[in-house]
Symmetry: C2
Subunit: 455 residues, 2 copies
């Protein structure tokens, strides 16, 4: 069989990478340090230790290029990794493009997205540190599902603060987490000081991700045997996701291919980091490769935000980070790609973008759903609305190839499936979706309250 | 890596079987011929040709052992086939059994179940016969989804009559089919004579699978360029599914394994046929292997039905078949394993069961959901409620091994995932499910109206 006919590449379990790639080792400019929201000074490891285990704090700042994946984690990865790499022959044909389009499919595990890649090591390191319980927040439920499964595997309790409006609207995601033994609590709750103070002011509050984070962090910070876990943004989360790109590289090598363009959606940044970071060193070494982060016009953090210190969460309890941000008060429209509605972006992704090493592009949601359906019909997978941003990005590049006649190799990250997002497709098919774009003035307004950090 | 450590076996695209296995060639007693519901005589190919293409009618009665899979179908199979074979190491550990449990996972395609294995060839043969449109019925939506995708691929129109109550309750399955371009019609509709006559008597009718079949068959029978497609029961459907067992056999060979026990759930029978039929010849040749069909106690077709001629559908429009049946008037309780609520069973499966070549077992639904959650927690896949019957069957056998100390090899068919069935899990977790068992008297009552076939 010639490589032209190959539709997918599977690797064997032995090919699961033994080490994560740490892009911090190779960045010309490292990300700025975190500041404490309590002291307004550089955050100390001690402060972080109230909610994270030491091993993850070390990974957060390590400049070692390669970090060993523990055997217990690799063993668990074997449940679905190496994930498949597909050639999008159907989509190429539909677009009539000379480009060769490949996608890495991360939807083949129980929780249906790439989030499990970091949930497992986070649960593992916490378990090893003697922690009994992990808390987290969840909106759409993707991250909460992944952490529930990981905690169940390592015998940790899992407490998920789920934004109350989602708790009501997404009963199946809730059941999913419960199926894996998690305790799912509608937030705001009366279990935390923060939750009680919100409910006192507004007993009918439907909650927000900011409030849910505050509740989860509060429980972690005030209980010795309890830690907090975050599903994106932080360096160690991005690190764990690099297994995606490392595998994809190996799979393309099997076909004697190397990408000209790598595309991923970008919210907090771990999705993009996963497939993109392992190619950053090649680029810095002079390889001609473009790395493109695709975000929604409804939350254009990289393309319209500023590169500044800002709070990571609305309630200002977490660390302050130097990143691209729309301001912690920015509330994006309720688009269906819930995972891309974060006001900031990973400090590493931000620094790389600031330094011109990676590119960014914002796309409106109707184009995204159009791309998603083109992909579904030709490739037979319904993509998550978040992942569909990467598809749209890949299609834009593939159509450029059609114009120029170039046979470029495009690789994108299909980070999850859309089986839990059919309501979004329903709305699109019934023409209920509108495109959202914010004026520069409105965005400037939301950036008024950035913290005053003196370095 | 020793075979003991292997968690999954992938084959390459070249290993996709080139031929389906036709068990009719090896059965000591062939199934009895179909009768026409119109004439009460043996059905002629002409009568069948009103709704099926000649190629499928030939497959229905062919006694050739191997039937070539067309290149166009194999090409499409490559989108997800060969499907993975997993070793259930997590489940084995939980059960503390010396048995080695393997499962073939058919949930890795867009529609999430094995149904696509037959939807694709059915669409293909119809397209080749010059047909423009396929009609079908769907309850839960699994089959309708598969046929929608297949029709979209081969450029056929697809008209799905969806039981009205499901149309309202399962908007996401509906959107799924629409995403693939199908026309989804709540049944009873006023597009057919049958639908109109039902609505005349009962304008608020919520429909039934029997009515939906009648509508779909009526449209196919009265339009020259339109045919009908069925997702289970018939011989050619079972034939197409044998690709599951053929692949599983090869995958076990990679590990030097051969099953002592093969387990699958059984509704119409195509799921069981898929994994079980390729082992029937081995059994007839003297190999010591047990083939077990697991059905719900709420619809105990094989274990409590009779082996007799009966109508395939409530409205008595389709062919009459000799099969195990609970009577076409039998209305099973609304259990969540909607795909197992058929009053009859595949004529081939029925004949094999009657001849003692395969076994059958009925299990109550709470045991099934308990098994499903055990599996989800240890293997990381939420199974479809139908497939969970196979899991329950496998667990029963694995626990017997624990008692006896035997290291048997158990293979089961995980025919689909449960991402669209979280409501069922919700109900189970909230203790809303009850076990259903019917008295012999009640079942006898429903068998009063079997047709009077004189042979």
């Amino acid at each position: 069989m010639s490589k032209k006919d190959v539709r997918k590449v599977f690797l064997s379990e032995e090919d699961i990478p033994k080490r994560w790639y740490n892009v911090l080792a190779d960045m010309p400019n490292k990300p700025e340090p975190y500041f404490s929201s309590r002291t307004n000074e550089v955050a100390t490891p001690d402060e972080l230790q109230a909610i994270f285990p030491m091993e993850l704090i070390k990974q957060e700042t390590s400049e070692e290029r390669w970090i060993d994946i523990p055997d217990e984690v690799r063993e668990m990865y074997k449940q679905w990794r190496p994930s498949p790499l597909y050639r999008a022959v159907g989509l190429e044909k539909l677009l009539d493009t000379p480009a060769r389009i490949y996608y890495k499919y991360e939807g083949v595990n129980a929780t249906g997205s790439h989030k499990l890649n970091t949930a497992i090591p986070q649960a593992y390191y916490n378990k090893k540190a003697g922690i009994k319980k992990l808390t987290t927040e969840t909106g759409a439920g993707q991250w909460g599902s992944a952490l529930s499964l990981a905690c169940n595997h390592f015998g940790l309790e899992c407490e998920v603060y789920m934004v109350k409006v989602s708790y009501g609207q997404k009963p199946y995601r809730r059941s999913f987490m419960k199926a894996f033994g998690a305790n799912v609590i509608p937030s705001p709750s009366n279990l935390t000081e923060c939750g009680r103070s919100i409910l006192e002011k507004d007993p009918d509050s439907t909650g927000s991700l900011g409030i849910a984070i505050s509740e989860a962090v509060e429980v972690a910070a005030t209980n010795d045997d309890t830690n907090y876990a975050l599903g994106s943004v932080l360096n160690h989360v991005c690190l764990h996701q690099t297994i995606i790109g490392l595998e994809a590289k190996k799979q393309l090598e099997v076909l004697d291919e190397y990408p000209d363009i790598v595309v991923a959606c970008c919210g907090g940044g771990s999705n993009f980091a996963g497939i993109g970071f392992p190619f950053v060193k090649d680029k810095l070494d002079g390889t001609n490769i473009r790395l493109i982060a695709v975000e929604p016009t409804a939350c254009p953090t990289l393309t319209k935000g500023v590169f500044a210190y800002d709070y990571g969460d609305t309630a200002k309890v977490g660390p302050i980070a130097k990143m691209y941000t729309l301001g912690h008060d920015f509330v994006p429209a309720g688009i269906h790609a819930g995972g891309l509605r974060y006001h900031g972006a990973s400090p590493i992704v931000s620094q790389l973008y600031h330094d011109g090493i990676i590119e960014a592009q914002a796309v409106p949601q109707r184009e995204v759903f159009d791309a998603a359906l083109k992909f579904a019909k030709t490739e037979g997978i319904i993509p998550a609305p978040e992942s569909a941003h990467a598809i749209r990005g890949a299609i834009i590049e593939a159509l450029k190839c059609k114009e120029s006649g170039e046979s470029k190799v495009i690789l994108f990250n299909l980070s999850g499936h859309g089986y839990f997002d059919m309501a979004a497709y329903d709305n699109y098919l019934n023409e209920k979706l509108v495109d959202i774009e914010y004026s520069d003035d409105l965005i400037k307004e939301s950036m008024k309250n950035l913290p005053d950090i003196k370095k």
